[in-house]
Symmetry: C2
Subunit: 209 residues, 2 copies
């Protein structure tokens, strides 16, 4: 089979627990997956290490990376840039690792445009009722907070159809196993195994003569 | 999540062992899968039961089924008709079973045309070398037999790209697990969960007011 890694984007509803799932997935299968490391212009916080949490760069360096096309996607939040360096991702993919990007819908669609083979996963609670519960909280939130969460969830829901799979987060253990199994199943897609199919065909043709 | 079963077509190289895989899959997960039962005009052999191995029908009845559109696909081999009755398949899908059809490429493409959600699986040995070994056999075959197998394998290989997944048959146990996991992963495809996504969206919209 073809050995190249798969580029995976994970998005999901706020509070869907995708961070926890990712952490667990990486700790269970450290040789299979690599988490993409973002570049950012914000200052490192205490305990953060350059090249582990983020690649810390200056605003000038970041804008040069944009100009040279060295970022797969980037965005600006509160005066700071965040982006995904292409080099690191491609190196890991070539090593056969499946590389995970945790970004939001707009970034996800940009990545998919640049790398059409990207696998898009969307993490969601098991039902609309469960999502409601998480949005409303324990009755200690103000109506403003709930309303703003709801607005955001509506926007997130609008993008769902663009994702390849829905990952149902009911139970962490089951959910991590399922995500792993979906990604590994994707390695068997015929469209990801053109090399394998070509080899079999050429060998068969050669044998006929 | 949406509960409807998935229609699955399994094809593969001759001698790829797909019959054995299917039998094992059905015996391990009898509540998950149903094997489609073909209608045929050939006479029952000893021990064959109507409605178990096949639905045995007359030539006249079969041609009426064709005319009425009651078959998903059909073909004629050596003066006998074989076809897949739509009724049985749809009943099982509605019950939430994943229904498996074991047919060849032309039938597979016809089924996909009529049911675009059909999942197409192609069973193959793990490498071109392994396929070669199976084609050439143990050195006891005539050149004519080998040549005809090779011709057939070439035709089969030509259709491979049309399938969604390649199922690598190296070890029976691993292969059955993998096929099960690929099919179950497919249930999480967003395109197969339009009802679930619609429900979440409508609930969120309703809550905003």
């Amino acid at each position: 089979m073809d050995k190249k890694g798969i580029l995976i984007v994970v998005s999901g509803f706020s509070g869907s627990g995708k961070g926890t799932i990712m952490k667990e997935l990486l700790s269970r299968y450290p040789d299979t997956y690599a988490l993409s490391i973002s570049a950012t212009t914000r200052s490192p916080r205490e305990g953060e290490v350059d090249g582990r949490e983020y690649f810390f760069v200056s605003k000038d360096e970041f804008e040069k990376m944009i100009a040279k096309g060295e970022l797969i996607e980037y965005a600006k939040y509160v005066e700071n840039y965040y982006g995904t360096p292409r080099d690191y991702v491609e190196k890991k993919l070539d090593e056969g690792r499946d590389v995970i990007l945790e970004i939001e819908i707009q970034g996800a669609l940009n990545v998919k445009k640049m790398f059409p083979d990207t696998l898009l996963l969307f993490v969601t609670p098991p039902s609309a009722d469960e999502l409601k519960k998480r949005l409303v909280g324990r009755g200690t939130e103000t109506m403003d907070v709930i309303r703003s969460r709801m607005e955001r969830a509506c926007e997130e829901a609008d993008g769902m159809e663009n994702y390849d799979y829905l990952i149902i987060n009911d139970d962490l253990d089951r959910c991590v196993k399922e995500m792993h199994s979906i990604i590994q199943g994707e390695h068997r897609r015929s469209s990801r195994n053109c090399g394998f199919m070509k080899e079999i065909k050429e060998d068969l043709e050669r044998m006929k003569h």
